[in-house]
Subunit: 202 residues, 2 copies
């Protein structure tokens, strides 16, 4: 299968790292939904990253749905099977995806329109939502465990680590690492793992 | 469990209809992420609709993750179990969610900022992506079958029907029903079903 999209998208990166952690071989094609819109469009006319091109050529989009597909095809998963543990993992993934979405909205507001078209009330609203997501994530996180260092991250940890690194790279310091020490520590540990180092934000 | 959010959100509505079709009891609290931001914030500080309040009080967000939770708690699902059928359903759900996202982006551009802050190149880009999503959905859809009329919709059909109805209600005629006859027919059949009639766009 082929994974289309750049690793500066947290959605692309969470899928790529998940594939790697599940030992699923894939070809990565880092096309941009902006600078290579037309080339992307020829693979998926909706121009959504990530796009997964399945072995039979069918294209899937949406990171969570792509991970569902990979789980269904391989019988492997980074999600807990215990129902209550799974509920907690889904809560954390939801928070981390919300944090990503809010950072993307801020990036788009600054990057895709001229300054006079930016709307400060929108940016304020999104920042409040993002701060709440990271505050809730920090509260949810147990201190990084030995399991994290050993590389057996679950989907909640992968998505949280990717979200944190993305926001820090795109808007350094806007979410203060000193006020989110568990998130900062999880991210630092995760970025040392082979799967994360092989698939860096870029 | 409690489902928080208004049914004019296609993400809220797909969850509500899924719960109903799976016979999962829930309380619906139609709070707005805009007009009742503070009340919503007290339930989920990230202010994301839909939010699901689980029986133990934990809150989940993101429609796909909420549906995953409901499936895991009940052992019931609207997704096919056959791997290739599931792949196709995931493709359709991804297209339908992309169509929803693009309509939401257009609604937000018009509704959440003054006219002088609107950015036409952004709207053009989003409209191109949305048109591609609906074109692909139309191509994917088999003509509505007897099963549809009998109420045994799968998740692909539910999300597609909700997406189509949402876009038509918010921006009538922008996606031409005459050029998407299968989508229009699926939507018309779905909106006659008890689950859809009980949970109308509003």
């Amino acid at each position: 299968m082929e994974l289309i999209g750049m690793l500066d998208s947290p959605y692309v990166r969470r899928v790529a790292i998940t594939l790697r952690l599940l030992d699923v071989p894939f070809v990565h094609r880092p096309l941009s939904v902006f600078s290579t819109f037309d080339a992307f469009s020829r693979i998926n006319p909706v121009v959504k990253a990530p796009t997964l091109v399945c072995d039979d050529g069918q294209t899937l989009m949406d990171s969570t749905l792509i991970i569902d597909h990979v789980e269904s095809m391989t019988g492997r998963s980074l999600m807990p099977t215990d129902r209550m543990e799974r509920q907690r993992a889904l809560r954390i993934v939801g928070l981390a995806l919300a944090a990503c979405e809010k950072t993307v909205q801020i990036v788009y507001e600054h990057g895709l329109r001229p300054p006079e078209k930016m709307h400060e009330p929108w940016l304020r609203r999104v920042r409040v939502q993002r701060a709440a997501a990271y505050e809730a994530l920090e509260a949810e996180l147990a201190p990084p465990s030995a399991a994290t260092a050993a590389g057996s991250l679950d989907q909640a940890a992968v998505t949280t680590a990717v979200a944190w690194h993305f926001t820090q790279r795109m808007q350094p310091g806007e979410i203060d690492p000193l006020r989110h020490p568990r998130l900062a520590a999880l991210s630092a540990a995760a970025e040392q793992l082979t799967a994360f180092r092989a698939l860096p934000h870029a």
